[in-house]
Amino acid sequence: MAKIFIVAEHRDGRLKKATFELLGASAAAGNETHALILGEGIAELAKELAHYGANKIHVVENSALKNYSAEAYSKAVAQVLKAASPDIVLASHTPTGRDFLPRVAAKLGVGLASDCTQLSFDGSKIKVRRPIYAGKVLVDVEFLGSGPVMATVRPNALGVPKPDTSKTAELIQETVELGALKTKVLEIVKGSSARPDVTEAPVVISGGRSLKSAENFKILEDLADVLGAAVGASRAAVDAGFRPHRDQVGQTGKVVSPTLYIACGISGAIQHLAGMRSSKVIVAINTDPECPIFQAADYGIVGDLFAVVPLLTQEFKKIKEH
């Protein structure tokens, strides 16, 4: 059994599913599972962490932590961890987790394995496996030196456990000394889209250059609305200006591993395949039966996406309405 600290992530008053995945994996292996949550006015949110497997919940309430700030977060997390001396520290490989955990690892002088997709526990040790070269190769990560070991875990890699709302955990109020901060978060500019991020969405629908225009992505958005999906794009579509850079899936964009990935009019360049090959189920729709995307696909439709996608939207609607 290991003493594990999981740094919980939340935004807009909601905990991230990715945090539940970490709690579930740790608890299922019978570890002493500590959750650490930072923010302001988070007492109620903290309790929910018990439903997913936290035995103890450490709460850092501080007005400087109201919004995520890399500097304040990493200082606070490092202080709590130094006092608690866990065996293992986990966070999600989300825009937030990947930003602050390297800082914490440096403050503690310990190793960090990023973007892990497989975890197993053995006594007080953890074994992690991760893709490198955007999924072209898999490696085990060996931790060297002493002190806690750290890992960030790719969202959707572990699966969300079923919550048990009857569970409670000990709440421990932590105080931290943040000192003078050198950075100041002035503003959070909310995205106009209500859709999830491509890296965290359970379903991603991506379009390639065959979509021909930014406007034509509407048919993918309609499908995404039915499935609660994110809309992604190939590098070619982004370079053509159809979608913003942040939607790009691939080695030079974002690496995603949703439950379902639907590639529409994407031929399947190596660098794109690298970015989505760890998706659980891959669907490809393309007019060219020879294009490499079909070799990566579990289900392939040789056909015109402009005809097929709207029909798919109708069919999924029927399923969802049942």
Binding site: A70, P95, T96, R98, D99, F100, P102, R103, A106, G111, L112, S114, Y133, A134, K136, V137, L138, V139, D140, V141, E142, K182, T183, V185, L186, I188, V189, G191, S193, R195, P196, D197, E200, L227, P244, Q248, Q251, G253, L260, A269, I270, K280, V281, A284, P289, F294, A296, D298, Y299, G300, I301, V302, A307, V308, L311, L312, Q314, E315, F316, I319
Partner: protein
């Protein structure tokens, strides 16, 4: 201003990766090595700052095997003034690289702005710019898509999740990791490529920058190619039949919907 840009050489995205015979690394044969694409964005940004601030010097730094000097030369051809190469073995971890970069920077007179890419596309860890910030004890701002330069300050727009952005301000010196969208990196012109050949690249060893084996905190082992994918199912018929059958299969067979 003294501007620095830290870059890493990586296999080109179109490179097919093969493993060495004992699965302890990749087979270097046939790999086309390039500057990591996000680092090109960092080089471009640092050039623009240099061009707007007369009298500035731009130094490009890379820590890695001897071949890394090729990517330093590329940055020099884009317009950087001089280079520093810290020779490190293949496959050192991010902590070691950050320690080496910090060691080299601390030997410099002073630094105002340090740029990196938001991640290197080989291991995609996105750790070095943050660790470097800790080692130098200066702010490190990641995933920047827009930067406003003030008097001794920067205001960055950084990408967070779900299409949202954070606006963050810090005083110099500061490290900024660039994301796509920040700029479009330039190509080196032929005359500049020729000029770059004469520019100085200072050679440093691990010991010069205070790096030892103890800085290595993680190591990759048991390299494996992902298992080959089973042949998928091709759906036939007219679009309506294809759509109906796909949705049925995703619902009943794959059970993902």
């Amino acid at each position: 201003m003294n501007i620095y840009v830290c870059i890493k050489q990586v296999p080109d995205t179109e490179t097919k990766i093969k493993l060495n015979s004992d699965s302890t690394g990749i087979d270097p044969a046939g790999i086309k090595w390039v500057m990591s694409p996000f680092d090109e964005i960092a080089v471009e940004e640092s050039l623009r700052v240099k061009e707007k601030n007369a009298g500035s010097t731009l130094t490009v730094i890379s820590a890695g095997p001897a071949r890394a000097t090729e990517s330093i030369r590329t940055a020099l051809a884009m317009g950087a003034d001089n280079g520093i190469h810290i020779e490190l073995p293949e496959n050192v971890d991010n902590n070691t690289i950050a320690k080496a970069l910090a060691g080299a920077l601390k030997k410099e007179a002073h630094f105002d702005l340090i740029f990196t890419g938001k991640e290197a596309i080989d291991d995609g860890s996105a750790q070095v710019s943050q660790i470097l910030g800790e080692f130098l004890d200066i702010p490190s701002i990641t995933v920047a898509v827009a930067i406003e330069y003030g008097a001794g300050t920067v205001k960055c727009k950084r990408e967070i999740e779900g299409g949202s952005f954070e606006i963050i301000e810090a005083a110099l010196p500061v490290i900024i990791a660039g994301q796509k969208g920040l700029n479009d990196p330039r190509y080196a012109s032929l005359p500049n490529i020729m000029k770059a050949k004469k520019k100085e690249i200072k050679a440093l060893k691990a010991a010069d920058v205070g790096v030892s084996d103890a800085d290595q905190k993680i190591r990759f082992k048991n390299y494996q190619l992902p298992p080959p994918k089973q042949a998928g199912k091709k759906l036939t018929g007219d679009p309506a039949a294809q759509a109906k059958e796909l949705v049925r299969m995703l619902h009943e067979e794959a059970k993902v919907i």
